[in-house]
């Protein structure tokens, strides 16, 4: 696969056409029908949570939030391959991969809703918190991969970043280290073609992102990021490559963020309705649904039922989340060191005295 789709050829791996037809049988992934259905449901679930979260933000029930709408195949197609012992080293736009690991919408809302517990993920293992400083996580992934290798532990590190993140030096350092050390890392670039408003041509002169892998002596491949099968298949191959001890792989999933950069952004300022329309036609969920329906594995009725079920579930979970106990003052001091040093203890006591003084004045 990595030879056939060598990034110098400028050919993107696509298996499922926008019409939902298999157009490339040679590289179809090994995946059971049952799992495909599971993944489809996760994509629908992720979108439900995503769209509802944006609407909660609009209602003033949530702070700023970074939407995932449109990138479901790219994050779930790649992330669905993660096993328990693998690591997720994320940025902030791969909610579907988080859900696959057992992170719940409540965790995500706690994070974006301003609660410190939102970084804890009690049900997920080997999952780093959401990272907003662009690209810093890419080097951590190399470090974690190296750490696993040194300790002869099982597991592959899946790290995510955007097209914009590839301009940071961290991208270079991360790929360089991982390839020299043959660290078990899959570098996944969700290329949604924009860094906020800056389109790809203004970020880089290279014809694609996958091609950057060549400089590091690792395989790279550009896949259709709105095609679940292409994303899954490339990830499966990358995992095999790593398991054979051959080191890291760079996957570029070409996709499109259908929503805003964050809820504080207005994309109509920098992209056209026509462009948005083109990508609506290429929607990843629509595409997989067309396939499943044609295969008689799924129906429109199933779909309506599922969406409704998820909407109700998510709504109920959000109402519960809104009752979550507030964060306590103590927690501000609590997580700074493994054990609280004396000066911090003193500071905390002084703060409590101040609060008592304030109380006595009111």
């Amino acid at each position: 696969m990595f030879t056939k789709y060598h990034p110098t050829k400028g050919e993107m791996l696509q298996i499922l056409s926008p019409e939902g037809k298999i157009i490339n049988t040679k590289f179809q992934p090994e995946i059971s029908t049952e799992k495909v259905l599971q993944a489809y449901k996760l994509m629908v679930y992720t979108r439900t949570v995503d769209l509802k979260t944006v609407s909660y933000q609009r209602q003033g029930r949530m702070y700023t939030y970074a939407p995932n709408f449109g990138q479901e195949a790219s994050m779930i197609g790649t992330g669905f391959h993660m096993n328990q012992e693998d690591w997720l080293v994320p940025s902030y736009r791969e909610m579907g991969a988080f859900f696959h690991r057992g992170v719940t919408p409540t965790d995500i809302w706690l994070y974006w809703g301003g609660h410190e517990d939102g970084a804890k993920f009690p049900k997920a293992t080997n999952t780093l918190p959401i990272s907003v400083p662009i690209a810093s996580q890419i080097i951590h992934a190399a470090g974690i991969g190296y750490g696993l290798k040194l300790q002869k532990q099982k597991g592959i590190v899946y790290t995510y970043f955007g097209d914009g993140g590839t301009s940071e030096g961290d991208f270079h350092a991360g790929l360089n280290f991982a390839s020299v050390w043959k660290a078990p890392v899959i570098f996944i670039c969700q290329n949604n073609q924009y860094a906020i408003s800056l389109r790809q041509e203004k970020q880089m002169a290279s014809s694609n992102i996958a091609i950057k892998s060549l400089a590091y002596g690792m395989p790279g491949i550009q896949v259709d990021g709105n095609d679940f099968f292409a994303c899954y298949s490339a990830t499966q191959k990358a995992a095999q490559h790593i398991e054979e001890g051959k080191g890291p792989v760079l996957i570029e999933a070409l996709t499109y963020r259908r929503g805003a950069h964050t809820t504080a952004d207005d994309p109509s300022r920098y992209r056209s309705k026509e462009e948005e329309k083109i990508w609506e036609e290429k929607d990843p969920i629509l595409r997989l649904k067309r396939y499943l329906v044609a295969q008689k594995l799924w129906s429109e009725e199933d779909d309506t039922k599922l969406t409704q079920q998820y909407e109700e579930e998510v709504e109920a979970e959000f109402l519960e989340y809104e009752k979550y106990p507030p964060y306590e003052l103590n927690d501000v001091f609590q997580y700074l060191y493994n054990t609280m040093p004396d000066d911090l203890v003193k500071q905390k006591q002084e703060y409590e005295k101040y609060l008592a003084w304030k109380e006595s004045r009111s």
């Binding site: 410190e116 907003v132 301009s167 030096g169 906020i196 800056l198 203004k202 927690d331 501000v332 000066d343």
Partner: protein
């Protein structure tokens, strides 16, 4: 005099200086077509085009370093960091290059560059995006560091910064961009190294700079209700620091509270408090009080993020403490 926002005042300063001097250009993430993440560069790209208002890829290290190089070549770059938090990625270019080149080239190559962007806490931005980093930069010889608390000061100081022949760290605040005050239409500049009395008083000197000044003024009003007449001194320029104005005020009131929204340890505020303690020892009727943010990363939760920062209440309490009331 027209009232304008801080955002508009900063935009005018850049616009006027770009019109005046073709060597001045603006570079950073989202500054051109998007008009800046906080809209400070509104309209500049339309007016000056791609040559002088430049959108960069996301590499703070890269565009900061390119700016330093361009300054060495005789240009006068204004580098916008989307926030000062991202200056961390570019730190080596500031610390070891911008601040050192004149010194290390034996005075031959100067770096006339302005680094600007919002610094310090805003709202709901959590630990990695709410940091007040002035103390880190004020620590470095070779840099100038300035802040402001009004649109008027912001405009005058930014123009001075752009004309300065040295690297200048220009500190803005996200929450201040919408603040308004009177700014004259005719041109003016504000020199570095001059503090400003924002409220004259005789009982206690409250020293601050940047966004907290407004809060300090509110505290002064609260104190006035209790019959305490506070003087509020806005440092504006941190390096160079106007020590004379500080001492003059403290020698008048004999009492001093320093308010700084950065962390307490080795900070601008702790340094000023030490200067006052040393140089006004015989004039002080009470120990100097110092209010900073708590010594912890910024919580995300809104109640807590307010709780760890300086507040009107904390300032009132400290002022009363030095007055023994």
């Amino acid at each position: 005099m027209p009232e304008i926002t801080v955002r508009e005042a900063l935009r005018q300063a850049m616009d006027e200086e770009m019109a005046r001097d073709d060597r001045v250009f603006l570079m950073g993430e989202e500054v051109a077509e998007y008009n800046g993440a906080y809209k400070v560069s509104q309209g500049l790209w339309e007016k000056y085009g791609d040559r002088r208002v430049i959108d960069t890829p996301i590499t703070e290290y890269g565009f900061t370093g390119v700016g330093v190089g361009a300054a060495m070549a005789g240009l006068r770059p204004i580098i916008e960091w989307m926030t000062y938090n991202f200056s961390a990625m570019a730190y080596d270019q500031v610390l070891n290059n911008a601040a050192k080149t004149l010194h290390m080239s034996g005075g031959q190559i100067n770096v006339p560059i302005v680094f600007r962007g919002p610094n310090g806490p805003a709202e709901f931005l959590s630990s990695q995006h709410s940091q007040a980093l002035q103390s880190i930069y004020a620590h470095i010889p070779g840099l100038k560091v300035v802040s402001f608390s009004t649109a008027y000061d912001g405009k005058g100081l930014l123009k001075t910064a752009i004309r300065d022949d040295n690297p200048v760290m220009f500190l803005e605040c996200e929450l201040m961009y919408g603040w308004k005050d009177e700014v004259p239409e005719e041109e003016y500049l504000i020199p570095f190294g001059k503090a400003d009395i924002k409220r004259a008083g005789k009982d206690v000197t409250l020293i601050s700079y940047s966004k907290p000044v407004r809060m300090v003024l509110q505290a002064a009003e609260k104190l006035a209700e209790e019959g305490i007449d506070a003087e509020v001194l806005d440092l504006r320029s941190i390096r160079p620091l106007d020590e004379e104005s500080i001492y003059k005020s403290v020698r008048k009131t004999n009492r001093c509270v320093v308010i700084d929204e950065s962390w307490p340890f080795a900070s601008v505020g702790s340094h000023v408090a030490w200067l006052v303690s040393t140089n006004c020892f015989d004039d002080l009727d009470a120990q100097v009080e110092f209010i900073s943010s708590e010594d912890v990363p910024m919580p995300y939760n809104h109640t807590l993020e307010l709780a760890v920062q300086p507040s009107v209440e904390k300032i009132v309490k400290a002022a009363k403490k030095v007055l023994y009331v």
